[in-house]
Amino acid sequence: MNDISIGGFPLDLLALQLVTGVALGAIYVLVGIGLSLIFGLMNVVNFAHGAFFMVGAYVGVFLYGYTGSFWLSLVAAPLAMGLLGLAVERVLVRPLYGRGIDDPLLLTFGLSYVMVESVRIAFGLTGLPFGAPPELRGAVDLGIGYFPLYRLFLIAFSLTVVGALWLFIERTSFGLVIRAGARDPQIVQVLGIEISKVWLAVFGLGCALAGLAGILAAPLQGVTPEMGIPVLAEAFVVTVVGGMGSLAGAVLAGLLVGIVVAMTSLVAPDMTKMAIFALMALVLLVRPRGLLGRAGALG
């Protein structure tokens, strides 16, 4: 297979690059879904999403230091961020319902400062080293080249989480309420369902997903107080490209962004960051509501 090549790149390498893109996309999907859910349902632009990602990673790494179990961290980090998300919604975001879109934006922006600085005070400025747990270390021969085992795990695990989330939203009665709430909160209210409880739950869920993405990303890069900043921008791109509030859209967009990044890295490595924003601009101009977004609701 090695002698076949496209555009000067051997097919093996292109295939490997594709897998790399999917692994990258797995993280994008998780952060994107959380942001998209919160935005789609509540019209809240959560500027603290990257901070939840970062704090989730810290909580996970900290617990790992104590328990030595990565699996426990994988459960505890999203749980902790979910709880923190619930508290934030209840205490800080809820008083803002009925105000403009800019108020929650400014508030969560302030919150992200507080969260980042608190982590700096608690854990120091340099960040903590962290690698994949021993059972997930090493590289696997995929037949097209070696690929890190942890990144394969990342793809599988994210797929599972997205699947579970899809079942939850499509197949449970609470999921039905969420879907209805995204379409028309007033009608849901009229039907006797307290929409504020739905918003509370969704905010918590979104933050939990950010925390999960954080601890999953930690073995790839270690943790630092600033690790959430680029993630926030990437999550926005995924949300916008996929269509706000659309689960399937976030999955599609997350993978798409991952693959675009991977392929640009091959062809024009110095353009990778620009490619993300160019993609976003293109989608917005051609199809403003995103690939799978609904028309009208938010326009």
């Binding site: 903590l128 080249g145 890069q221």
Partner: protein, 411 residues
Amino acid sequence: MTTGFDRRRLLQGSAAASALALAAPALLRSAAAQGGPIKIGFPVPLTGAFGAEANDQVRAAQLAIKEFNEAGGFQGRQAELLVRDDKLNPGEAAGRTLELIEKDKVNFLVGGLSAAVTLSINNVARERRVIYNSISQSDAINEAKDFGRTTFHEALNPHMTAGAVGRYVFPKSGKRVAFLSADYAYGHEMVRGFKRAGEASGIEVVADIRHPIGASDYSAFLPRIAALKPDVLCLCNFGRDQVVSIQQATEFGLKRNTKLVAPVLLFTSRKAGGEAFDGVIGGTSYYWRLEDTVPSAKAFNDRFRAAYNGAVPSDYGALGYAGVRSVLEGVKAAGSVETDKVVTAMEGLKADFYKGPQSFRKCDHQLVQSVLIVESKSKGLKTPDDVFTILGTEGPDERFLRGCDELGHKA
């Protein structure tokens, strides 16, 4: 919000403002020159990704101030350090530099921790004829375009560091070299340094890939590099980019066939990156284990340990010390705090502050100094700070700098 602090600052501000309006600025400057403490402005990024390095720079600089004052100061005048947070932002740094010069009337400036910030401080300072001793790596600051007579560069520059590392590594580890560099001037400068050093050993560049600065993931660049199986991979990036790219290169199994090289191997990065750094070779201006062979390093470390609970200074921290010390020694040698006289004195300074002999080259005020080649380790550490093995030292030599003509300085 309206605490006593704010009000006091407001009052100070208005007092300074009215004083300024009453007196001609030139008059004020000469008044400041005669009495009171010798003020050294010190803009560093206390917040942001390099906060740890910046804090270390401040601690070491304070040590230099303390030594100077305990030795009696200069003609009875004590030195004072005015620390400002430049937030790693060149615009903020320019504003803070203006504050230090215009409001605080500092005599000298030392500081900076990124090329962009250092160039920004320099641009503001040289226009106002205030001596600025940069402690951040940059090749551009040596070039005639950015240079002013008041510009000094205490830190190494990318050309010197990459060159020294290349001259050490290429003959030993092989000729097929790949570059993964941050796509900005600093990254390009390091690649250029390596390539020049590699000419002598006839290296073959198999890949020269530029990644966007601040990329959070490098996996997309690595399969291609792994497929090329280079002998040496030079990671020409800095700080967080370096930590993540080394960690991920390790993850992709690159260390099996390839020697990883990071031109500027930071003490703090190594501590943040942990064992992923094992076996990585790089250059540095200072590493505390230099004390095993160099007496002035031993003396400096001991004073630092005594002042800060047994902690050892980092590479950039040590530069904070040396940067301030160079200026203060210049004052002593000049017998004056006047800019012109101190510049001349600093040009003639031949000293050994903390790492062996050092002196400024006349044409571009670059400090000619040694470069240490170190290798990262994580096993058999004597203390948690014992993270590098010193493989070699390239002594101070003007030959390793780019020539004055090349930089655009007229003879």
